[in-house]
Amino acid sequence: MSLQTMTPSQPASLRARWSEGRNLALLLSVGAVALISVARLISDADRLTSSTTIGTGLRLAVPIALAGIGGLYAERSGTVNIGLEGMMTLGTVGAGYAGWQGGPWWAIIGGIVGGILGGLLLSLATTTFGVNHIIAGFAINIIGSGVARFLANVWFTTDEAGAAGGSITSSPAIVGDLGRFSVPILADGPDLLGDLEKKGWFFLSDIAGVLKGLTKDVQAETLIALVLILGSIYVIWHTPFGLRLRSAGEKPSAAESLGVSVAKMRHIGMAISGGFAGLGGAVIVFAGADQYQQDQVAGRGFLGLAALVIGNWMPAGVLAGSAVFGYALGVANSLDSGISVRGLILAVAIGLALLTARAVIRGRYVEAAIQATVGALALAAYLKVEEVNNQFVYITPYVVTLVFVTVFAQRLRPPAAEGHPYLKGQSL
């Protein structure tokens, strides 16, 4: 909910905005943990902040974040990317094949290549031919799933693949591991954080659980993703390439008037977008049984898109959005998920109560009313049910997105020229 720093009402220097944003992000994270630990104590949902839950959440957040950052490159360059899902699917089949043939590192490369091909195909339709971005992106999703199934049939039904465990719906397992790392002393060795977590103290143990979840058995692909995402912040905001990319998404005719090729920027943006989505597909492959499985992306491309929207088209926002989704899914996948989700609903209710109070103080009554209504519903749900049904757990990220978008719609600011096909010389 760090939207305010992203859309400042008065111009502030970039540096000031950045440090203000960082402080706020830290404050909000700590606040969120505090909020959840209160809810945990009241509702006895002890797994809410356990390191296992957080660890799972982290692993689930990574592909969403990768898809979201992929979407960011596309949309910052001016192309709406509804095709993330299809590109991730191409990534999974590419990773499955390359990984089976050459091991885990090749799986990463195969995933990226698969995604890039999908990205370039979309960019061919939108940038070269000026097709409506949503229509074309939608077509890419259909093609992505079709091509993946076809390739699976061709690649994984041979005798050789069959002997290795492949079938029409899944690739042979990828042998080997990229490795995983734990931070010594804190999460490993003496495991100080683990000790603290076990104490069950208010807030302190929660923080320890969260930190341990983030530092214990971190997979290599998670680290790769993190480096790439943080690198993206630099690339998009501090390099000439990034500036040109953003100009193509904000005011393409201005870019063209200065001799910057909008088409080139949008093709490159889309290729990078596909690459990130494909990498996300590869990570999904590793998150399961280390093999391609049909339909295993299961809507995470769309979740990436949602993270992009609620992250207000900013990398840090995308990360925060993915973290929220990943955490919700991590809670849903934890033991006693019904109880944990009930605890989470209480946290949401308390959080919304605080937001409502803030909105009232600032005189934003519509916002306050919406927040109060949703908060009251959450509270009612908490009081009414003993354990939350799994289907509701499943829809949590989507409802979160809907509520978020509804509350903050007026303050979200997508790139100005996003979604508008641009043909050379069109508006000079």
């Binding site: 008065q10 111009p11 220097s13 970039l14 501090h238 390099t239 000439p240 390439f241 500036l243 040109r244 953003r246 100009s247 904000e250 005011k251 005719s253 201005a254 870019a255 063209e256 008037s257 200065l258 001799g259 910057v260 090729s261 600011r413 790139p415 100005a416 010389g425 508006s427 000079l428």
Partner: protein
């Protein structure tokens, strides 16, 4: 004001430039010679091909025929990059600025001073401050462009050109959006530049301005060069006008008054809030009465509430307070559809955006806005045959040049599109006509035709509200003239007693009269001031 140091070197030489677009030859053998170190004006009426020529010179598109020489060397530009490389820069009519980027980001885009891995922000800021001080173009490099005013945005555009070290600067209608003080500042900066050996080319159709500031003038008509004026002091605006349109400019004079005492449209105490800023009023307590047979003109610098006034009358946006009555009926709460149905005709400022559906055939465009009424339909169904018949009638009576009534509207020229819109409004038995910049961007012929229609509307007993930036048009056509400034009516004038100069002083808010009785004295004072400035 003119630069007396005339250098003999030639900066730009264009020969026989031909540029064709589908269905139009925009430039048909244009010649242009610009001396180094001069301020060179290019004049011509709308659609003459001035902007097309400048885009060719800037490499935004390639000419079909002809040669371009810059400082004596022949050039073939494939993109603006090539033009930038030989020192040409262009300030576009519609600002080419990304709102959500900072000033310095907009300026360095494409020529970042750093290396591939960093933009070089520090260097950019320093250089911008230097340039700003040197040419009187100071802007905060770290401000977001969205937060700048029009004048500042233009500074950023010029800085963009200077940052690239351009020695030849093209400005496409740079003064169209500026208030007089800003115009003066602009030409001061340009004089500064040309004194240092740079060359400036600007497009305009404000002839007074051209005569005051240009060292040389080229006149373009219908895609051809029709006149070269090496010494502007030897011509007057009348000569220039004749060169521009091939004959005398039509004049918007009205004949004898047809104003009645019946009130057609009455606006009382109208206030409108600024979107997003609840406490700032875009319109503040506006009172306007339009009688049958009267044209009420609204003068004002753009963005002072004209658009909001139109929206309020048509019911397009909510109002804060006030009342609007149409022939005694309160329509303050009526929907846009009901108001149009009740007889409010509308000629929008931007016809392609608000007045037409370009991909629809002409007959559907004629039905637009009148789809609930005869002959276009009965409110539930659309009557195709009757709509077609009415469209044929409009095409005939209003001289819309088109092969048929079934072609898409995008195939019409701007003037013919406007005639179609005027025709459909006039044939739908309106009681009040709201005309917003009705002759903007169209050729002289269509302009004269539309003035004729306005006079006709007046003599038919309609109440007409005319909003325009063309002061001659306002003074010539209006029976009553209000000046709007900062959301208020700050002067009500008798058109016969004012000149564009006087109107200008009211429009910038430097003079005001809320009491019509004071008009005569205030106008006289303003006139004296304006005359004084003229002789000085």
């Amino acid at each position: 004001m003119t630069n007396t140091a005339v250098a003999s070197a030639v900066a730009i030489e264009l020969r026989d430039i031909v540029k064709r677009f589908p269905g139009v030859v925009a430039n048909d053998g244009v010649d242009l010679t610009v001396r180094t170190g001069s301020i060179h004006a290019i004049v011509g009426e709308n659609g003459a091909g001035k902007s097309t020529l400048m885009k060719t010179l800037y490499g935004a598109h390639r000419p079909d025929e002809g040669t371009i020489r810059v400082n004596g060397a022949e050039q073939s530009f494939r993109s603006p990059r090539d033009a930038i490389a030989v020192g040409i820069g262009m300030v576009f009519q519609h600002f080419q600025l990304a709102d959500n980027l900072t000033v310095w980001e907009n300026i360095v885009l494409g020529d970042e001073p750093g290396s591939w891995y960093r933009i070089g922000a520090k260097h950019a800021r320093t250089k911008l401050r230097e340039l700003g001080v040197r040419y009187g173009l100071e802007v905060d490099p770290d401000a977001l462009v969205a937060d700048l005013g029009v004048g500042q945005k233009q500074r950023v555009e010029i800085l963009k050109v200077l940052f690239r070290g351009a020695r030849i600067i093209i400005l496409d209608e740079p003064t169209a959006v500026l208030v007089p003080q800003e115009v003066d500042e602009l030409f001061k900066s340009l004089a500064e530049l040309t004194a240092g050996g740079a060359t400036a080319i600007f497009i305009s159709h404000k002839l007074d301005e051209v005569l005051a500031h240009a060292d040389a003038i080229t006149v373009i008509r219908a895609g051809k060069t029709v006149g070269e004026v090496p010494d502007p002091s030897k011509v007057n605006s009348h000569d220039l006008a004749e060169l521009m349109v091939g004959s005398e400019l039509p004049s918007p004079e009205t004949r004898e008054s047809t104003v009645t005492t019946d009130v057609a449209l009455e606006i009382t105490g109208l206030s409108v809030a600024t979107p997003g800023q609840a406490h700032k009023l875009a319109l503040d307590n506006i009172n306007i009465t339009i009688h049958r047979g009267e044209i009420v003109g609204i003068a004002g610098v753009e963005g002072n509430g004209q658009a909001e006034l139109v929206e309020a009358i048509l019911g397009l946006e909510p109002i804060a307070s006030g009342a609007i009555e149409l022939f005694g009926h309160d329509i303050t709460k009526a929907s846009t559809g009901d108001r149009r149905h009740a007889g409010i005709g509308y000629i929008p400022e931007d016809r392609q955006k608000d007045g037409m559906v370009l991909s629809f055939p002409l007959w559907e465009n004629c039905a637009l806005g009148h789809q609930r009424q005869e002959p276009y339909g009965d409110g539930r169904w659309i009557d195709r045959a009757a709509s077609l018949a009415r469209t044929e009638q409009i095409i005939r009576e209003f001289d819309v040049r088109t092969p048929s009534s079934d072609v898409p509207a995008l195939t019409l020229s701007g003037g013919n599109q406007q005639k179609l819109i005027v025709g459909r409004e006039m044939t739908s038995s309106p009681k009040v006509l709201i005309a917003s910049h009705p002759t903007r961007g169209i050729d002289v012929g269509a302009q004269a035709a539309i003035w004729e229609v306005m006079r006709l509307a007046r003599s038919m007993g309609l109440g007409v509200l005319l909003i325009s930036a063309d002061l001659e048009e306002l003074i010539g056509l209006s029976d009553t003239l209000h000046v709007i400034y900062d959301g208020r009516i700050n002067a009500t004038l008798v058109p016969a007693a004012v000149t564009p100069k006087i109107l200008g002083t009211y429009m910038t808010g430097s003079a005001r009269t809320d009491d019509p009785n004071l008009t005569a004295t205030a106008a006289a004072a303003a006139a004296a001031a304006a005359n004084g400035a003229d002789h000085g």
